[in-house]
Amino acid sequence: MRVLIVEDEAALASRLRQVLETAGFAVDVAHDGEDGWHLGDTEPYDAVVLDLGLPRIDGVTILGRWREAGRTMPVLILTARSRWSEKMAGFNAGADDYLVKPFEMEEVIYRLRALIRRASGHAQPELTCGALRLDTNSGRINLDGVPIQLTAQEFRILSYLMHHPDQIVSRTEFSEHVYDRHFDLDSNSLEVLLGRIRKKIGAGYIQTVRGQGYKLAEPEA
């Protein structure tokens, strides 16, 4: 899952990046409004963490522009402004959730996971595919109730597939949603990663659709 953080306070931005990466997200950071707006407008993020008090363009304006341009990714607003009238302004501009500073890092992760899960059409916090089970609250994947040990990259790929079951996910989609924009994914390394995942969960779950991409499906018995 790839998220954008738009936050002008450098220390907070880098801490957020660190925490979110640890939690299994691919993270891009923008430090001012213009940069943030541009990235959100051009890159396909699964969610955005948006500070409202930004230099150059403020958060509510950015959000309004994205929504006007038809960008529908879930947006979590971070702000120091705690009055309900200010929250309403954020929601009216198209925010999906709202956190008032100072906040707990766990809360950001929890809310982001919920937003992403709902955006891909899942109402329940647990995503399942056969014996595979992803708890979006804790960010753990179990197979038959046993936790699977995955590296960060492996987790992102499998988690993305579990959010979009029975859909063909192309190589481009992987590179857009699983890696940040500075990462150059080559075809071999994706094959290698998928191979490792198959080894851990069994070969039946991830199918290769020739010429198109990959698909997660319940293995036929």
Partner: protein
Amino acid sequence: MTGGHERPAASLSTRLFTGAAVWLVLILAIGGWVLTWAFRDTVENEFSRRLDAVLRSMIASMATTADGSVALPHSLGDPRFEQVYSGWYWQIALPDGSLLRSRSLWDSALHIVESDAQPHTRRIDGPQGEPLLIAERDIRLPDVDGKIHVMVAGPLKEVSEGVRRFNLLLTIALGLLGLGLVVAILIQIRYGLRPLRAMTTDLDAVRQGARTRLSGRYPKEIDPLAQAMNGVLENDAELIERARRHVGNLAHGLKTPLAVISAEVGQAPDHNLLREQVQVMRRLIEHHLGRAAAVASAGGRLGVVAPVGETARNIAAVLGKVFRDKNLTIEIDVDDAVAFPGHREDLEEILGNLMENACKWAASRVRVSAAQDRDHLTLVVEDDGPGMPAEQAAEASRRGKRFDQIASGWGLGLSIVSDLVEVTGGSVSFTESPLGGLRACVDLPRP
């Protein structure tokens, strides 16, 4: 208004009235005295002229009889000279010392004082001791040797009687005049001081927040005062606004570094202690920020209303988004006519915090209802969650109590609501809802 306010000096009305009353009494007294004096003078002159006329006609009709004595051939025509001790007397003293007297004198005589002045009036005491005015003259008759002294007297009582009647009438007339003038003065004072009373009313409106400045048209004597007052008010409002902005900037400015600290403490060895302190700081910031906003919006509230139903529905839409996973039913049971007496932001703050809290605890249902009568607006937010223990609810309902101190875990929101409602003169109470959870009831006075 409070503290060192001293007793006000004597009222302007009293001053003006006392001043006017003093000159009024003086003028009436002097006028009365002059009029009485002039009247008495006129009446006395008239009286003495009458006596003089009688004297002349007496002298004209006096004749010497054949035996050489003097006689009045006929009475003077006025019956009062015949009536004993009537006060009207005449007396003729002949050179030989004999007296001719009016019948009214009976057996007494008028006292004769030798005098050179001719003719002459003077006052003497009559036979009954009553004051008399006398006209007298010495004449000579051709057949009689020596001077004949002729006197006519009339009672001064008639003069003083006239004067007394005049005085009575004068007193009544002047009294009525004085009364009329007092009424006129009172009316004038009221009319004259009306702009000041208008200013007081205006200032009261400013104090109650209905207006931000004195807006009436004032006469040019007190207009500078009104302008100066407006200057002070504007300056005041600006100071408050600036202070509020500073509080806001400080509070919001502190939150981002606090967020950084909060993010960093995850790594620290004592992170629970540090995290707790960050939470305390956050609560303090929110509390004082909420208070500053509440106090600032307390002014200029009169005449401002916000629709309760629409606001509640907007908030419900937002909360439905935030709590999507809980699949809550948020019922808004509010008549469209129900209006909150204040700014929309304050209503959003009150309803938003109460409804968010309800959504947080609810199992499946949240109900918002409102009712208003002439001088009260009641907002009720209920949920079907676990509710609050009775004693905690009672404690929380107690006004002025810091909510976040007594009900930790129930969120900062309720404390902000308490502060806001308290500033507007209302009250918040918490009881058990028929739905099973907490029932928060906000009671607000309508102006």
